[in-house]
Amino acid sequence: MSATTPRQDFLRGVWRENPVLVQTLGMCPTLAVTNTVANCVAMGLATTLVLVFSCVLVAWWKKRIPNEVRITAFVLIIATFVTVADMLIEGLSPTVHRALGPFIALIVVNCIILARQEAFAAKNPVGRAALDALGSGFGFTIALFLMGVVREGLGAGTLLGVRVMPAAFQPWGVMMMPPGGFLTLAMVLLVVRTLERRKAERRRAAAGAPGSAKEAA
């Protein structure tokens, strides 16, 4: 891997390799909990927290974990961390736990976490792993937030519970339900990929080098 700056380590996950918008990972929470903006932010931040801590742990112990049992060890780390966090949140702040309750357990099976551990944390020093995890976590949160804005805005006419649509607006009930998740994901991906493609075309035009190899990707 070529040398990268801490900035690149962080920004990679935020946009260029955004876990949801580019890698289409973590679809379960992306579809399931994005019907309100508050849910999105809570889920995004909770996942970021688990992501950072578990990636730091994996990067720290990577030499002691044999390759053969690494998946088991990674999943054990994630599951333990999530369960302990679940208990602590319930013990310390029942209100937060009430709001997050059903989502916390979902974090265990979020494949973004395992993917970052496998692809990055297990091969890189602790500091870089932490930055990479933080970037991916923010990228995940941003993607969920985009989904939440569209779904809550159209599905309930509100953002964070505050009415934003005119009174005459008839909420699209379907956006709150599972099909709304699929529709919104498709719309968001379409917009993001179109923007990215235009940007790439402009860059190529500016460089005067029509590269067609990347076009297919």
Binding site: N35, L76, I77, M87, L88, G91, G101, M176
Partner: protein, 223 residues
């Protein structure tokens, strides 16, 4: 470049004891962490649940804060004041004399909603045959749709249960909100939360059926 140089030297196999040690050790550490977290949080969690229940009982019976109420356990086919020794999993019911002199009973009940179990508490005056108030304690209904049944406020679904007639023989009926006036035992369901609304009605009716004979036979009897 020779061919031999291109072939990487195979790593020696990891000894079995090392795999076992890593997984066994990791599992032991994880188990230890979980047990510590469990023991550290079990008391605050239990205390919080008890507080939520106490607040709920006072709320649905419209009692002032810190007002006393009594607890009865369902044991051996009747209501007893003392929790029988060794019995851990008995149903409970609460009652209190309300400011207006009537005796209100608070019932906790749960059942299937649209997404998951709905757990609620309701206040009930069996003598007058009407509900006093209802509060959803736990639900994971769809945000934006089904969760409307757990909402608070003067126009909320839970507020519609106050004063509704109910008895063992005349259950509460959930009806679509329309212009026709409701019968005493009818409650308007929430548009967009039809399944969750019906589930709440069903849970209330089930609990009334289950507790009515016990309450009527009890010494307090509601009078």
């Amino acid at each position: 470049m020779s061919d031999a140089a291109a072939v990487p030297v195979p790593k020696p196999p990891v000894p079995a004891w090392k795999l076992l040690a890593v997984l066994g050790g990791g599992g032991a550490v994880a188990g230890l962490l979980l047990v510590v977290a469990y023991l550290a949080t079990i008391e605050p969690i239990r205390a919080h649940k008890a507080q939520v229940l106490a607040d709920g009982v006072r709320e649905v019976l419209a009692l002032p804060a810190d007002a006393p109420y009594e607890e009865r356990w369902w044991s051996g086919g009747r209501l007893v004041a003392e929790r029988p020794a060794g019995a851990d999993d008995l149903d409970r019911i609460w009652f209190a004399r309300r400011p207006d002199g009537s005796v209100g009973w608070a019932v906790v009940a749960e059942g299937n909603g649209f997404a998951d179990r709905i757990r609620l508490i309701f206040g009930w005056d069996p003598v007058a045959g009407r509900l006093l108030a209802l509060k959803v304690l736990e639900s994971k209904e769809t945000p934006g749709l089904g969760d409307a049944v757990a909402a608070d406020g003067p126009a909320s679904f839970r507020a519609r249960f106050t004063g509704v007639a109910v008895s063992e023989t005349t259950p509460v009926r959930g009806v679509k909100a329309d212009a026709t006036p409701n019968a005493p035992n009818e409650v308007d369901t929430v548009t967009g939360a039809t399944v969750s609304s019906r589930a709440v009605v069903k849970i209330v009716n089930g609990a009334v059926r289950r507790w009515a004979p016990a309450v009527a036979a009890s010494r307090e009897g509601g009078r």
